[in-house]
């Protein structure tokens, strides 16, 4: 018969090594995530500056500002940030405080861009489609993911179509004002297409007909 011994030192050494590698792995992942959140933060700051610049450009060019207007780069900038924000939301979860903070700021940038585009549409006789989309990701909107996908697709198909997505659960004075103006309640998804409110899911064809 052979005595069966367990080397406690060996198990402890393995435990320590595994924990160390594990913690390093988690730490690196955490740092990369923070880096990415900071990237979005920076992009938002850049966007803020760019928005101000284009607004000022409009005011400064006294004579026929409409012929100078090119909002496409700014729209793409906004869309780029939105895509990155979506990605981080998927990674970290919708209730992550950093995601929520960035999203709140992003919503304000969207409102500002929307107001600017409205003004350009009105004063320059342009006809860019403006869509406001209110969603909820708190589990009370089963078709919101699908609606988001459809809107993404439409933006790819029609780059001039401006889509502004808002989390209906974000508490913000500007957003609350828009909701109040359009008489929006809790139910989602809600689309405001050319100032008309539509409640419930809409396919790409339904939206294309209205724009």
């Amino acid at each position: 018969m052979q005595r069966r011994e367990i080397s406690k030192t060996k198990y402890l050494a393995v435990f320590a090594t595994t924990t160390l590698i594990f913690v390093i792995g988690v730490f690196i992942g955490h740092e990369v995530t923070i880096m990415k959140l900071n990237t979005i933060d920076d992009l938002e700051q850049n966007m803020k500056v760019d928005t101000m610049a284009i607004e000022l450009q409009y005011l400064l060019i006294a004579e026929d500002p409409c012929s100078y207007i090119n909002a496409t780069p700014l729209t793409e900038e906004l869309y780029g940030i939105g895509t990155k924000l979506d990605y981080m939301e998927n990674q970290l979860g919708e209730s992550n405080p950093s995601v929520l903070r960035i999203k709140e700021y992003y919503s304000l940038l969207e409102v500002r861009h929307w107001l600017y585009m409205k003004k350009v549409n009105k004063e320059c006789n342009k006809n860019s489609a403006l869509i406001l989309y209110f969603y909820s990701n708190e589990g009370d909107c089963p078709t919101c993911k699908e609606q988001g996908f459809v809107l993404n697709y439409l933006h790819t198909k029609y780059p001039s179509m401006n889509i502004y997505s808002f989390d209906t659960n974000i508490k913000d004075i500007a957003l609350d004002t828009i909701k109040q103006d359009y008489g929006i309640k809790k139910e989602t998804p809600i689309l405001i297409i050319n100032d008309k409110v539509y409640v419930g899911f809409m396919s790409s064809k339904d939206i294309e007909k209205l724009t």
Binding site: G29, T39, V150
Partner: protein
């Protein structure tokens, strides 16, 4: 924290812990990898239990007769376990002194082995399934280990014979990985399966502690656990190679695995006293880890299936909503931002690196010459899926009491 994260953290920690434990074990025993020198040639009896194996038995017997071991120091005993084909005729066609062929009524593999144990004249006894073939020097490499009187069994290293189908190729890598594990378990005193193909035993063990259990689904697990219960040693010769024919298609593979896994569960329950510090690494780490890994892999399997199904449904619903105008969606815009490097991804990369390390070491240990091919990637990425499936089906079969079959005899 959501369930994905918790599950992945637990799985990766467990995987890392066991891998590091095994690699450290290999490192501290690296000087014990060589087989002990053979000083004498004790007599060995090899039993070949066969049931309807007319296609492969000739090759099996030939490989045994070709062993570079003195002919008068080993004998081959073929037991035809009531085959309905020409197994007996084929086996009897060999006219050599050290081969005897018997025929008996069908009773299952263990009964065939027990039948032959009474006829053996060797100090050591082993079996070779009739679908397996030994390499020339396998016996020489094994017998040296019996210099230590505490050693009651020595296991060989198994390889898949001429893999053709993708499933066989995946099994080939699984067997290479098994070679690594068996050697590690030998170092830990924790071998709990003495494979049917060519494990050699000290015959006195059967005389003292009884023969094979004919009512057991996996007699090779039962005998190993019995040896462990009596605290004897089971060794492994990592380069004593035995080739075995692996199931080619899914159905026979599933049948084989169900038998193995249900057999494992049954035997471990029967030998539950082994879960004790008295049995060292076997009781405190190796056996519990087998069950923990089974539990984790089943949860991961079902969670992955659930995620995959719900994502697929979501995707199809999305595509319907855009009238399947998919060409617009596949725009390739590279942005490093979208490379997933969160904690889970980093841990998955680490696990993959450790997995590749283990496969390379296992390949070197088993002296496998073929190069690393696509099947290795398949193995690393998808094998766990099959592993989870076997465990789940075995668990279900155990819970529902559904019968498992070996040969034509149900147990």
């Amino acid at each position: 924290m959501n369930f994905d994260y918790i599950l992945m953290y637990v799985v990766s920690y467990f995987g890392l812990f066991t891998s590091i434990f095994f690699l450290l074990t290999l490192l501290e025993n690296s000087k014990r990898l060589k087989n002990p020198k053979l000083k004498t040639f004790p007599k060995v009896s090899i039993i070949v239990p066969a049931y309807n194996e007319e296609k492969t038995i000739a090759k099996t017997v030939k490989s045994l007769l070709n062993l570079n071991y003195p002919k008068d120091r080993f004998e081959v005993i073929v037991v035809d376990d009531g085959s309905k084909d020409n197994t007996f005729k084929v086996a009897s066609s060999f006219k050599v002194k050290n081969l005897r062929v018997f025929r008996k009524e069908n009773g299952g593999k263990a009964s065939a082995l027990n039948f032959a144990l009474d006829l053996c004249s060797g100090e050591f006894v082993g079996a070779l399934d009739a679908d397996s073939f030994v390499t020339k020097d396998a016996l020489r490499k094994i017998v040296g280990y019996f210099e230590n009187p505490q050693v009651m069994a020595v296991t060989p290293s198994l390889k898949v014979y001429q893999p053709i189908s993708i499933l066989q190729k995946i099994q080939k890598i699984e067997y290479i990985f098994g070679t690594f594990l068996r050697k590690i378990f030998a170092f830990l005193g924790s071998i709990h399966v003495t494979p049917g193909p060519f494990t050699i035993y000290r015959k006195v063990f059967f005389d003292r502690y009884g023969k094979y259990d004919p009512n057991n689904l996996t007699e090779d697990i039962e005998i190993a656990l019995r040896i462990q219960t009596h605290k004897f040693i089971i060794e492994n010769s990592v380069d004593a190679t035995v080739y075995t024919i692996a199931p080619k298609t899914f159905k026979p593979l599933m049948k084989q695995r169900l038998r193995w896994y249900v057999g494992f569960i049954n035997n471990v329950f029967n030998y539950k006293h082994l879960f004790s510090p008295k049995y060292g690494n076997l009781g405190m780490f190796v056996l519990p880890a087998a069950f923990i890994s089974a539990f984790l892999v089943i949860i991961t399997l079902f969670y992955t299936l659930y995620k995959f199904t719900s994502n697929t449904i979501q995707r199809i619903t999305n595509w319907i909503a855009i009238d399947f105008d998919l060409k617009r969606l596949f725009k390739w815009n590279f942005d490093a931002f979208f490379i997933n490097l969160n904690s889970i991804a980093i841990l998955a990369i680490l696990a993959l690196i450790v997995g590749i390390m283990v496969i390379i070491i296992a390949k070197v240990l088993s002296k496998e010459k073929s190069s690393i091919k696509v099947s290795y990637i398949f193995y690393l990425l998808f094998y766990w899926f099959l592993y989870g499936l076997w465990w789940f089906l075995a668990g279900m079969s155990k819970l529902t009491g559904k019968k498992i079959y070996w040969g034509h005899k149900s147990l």
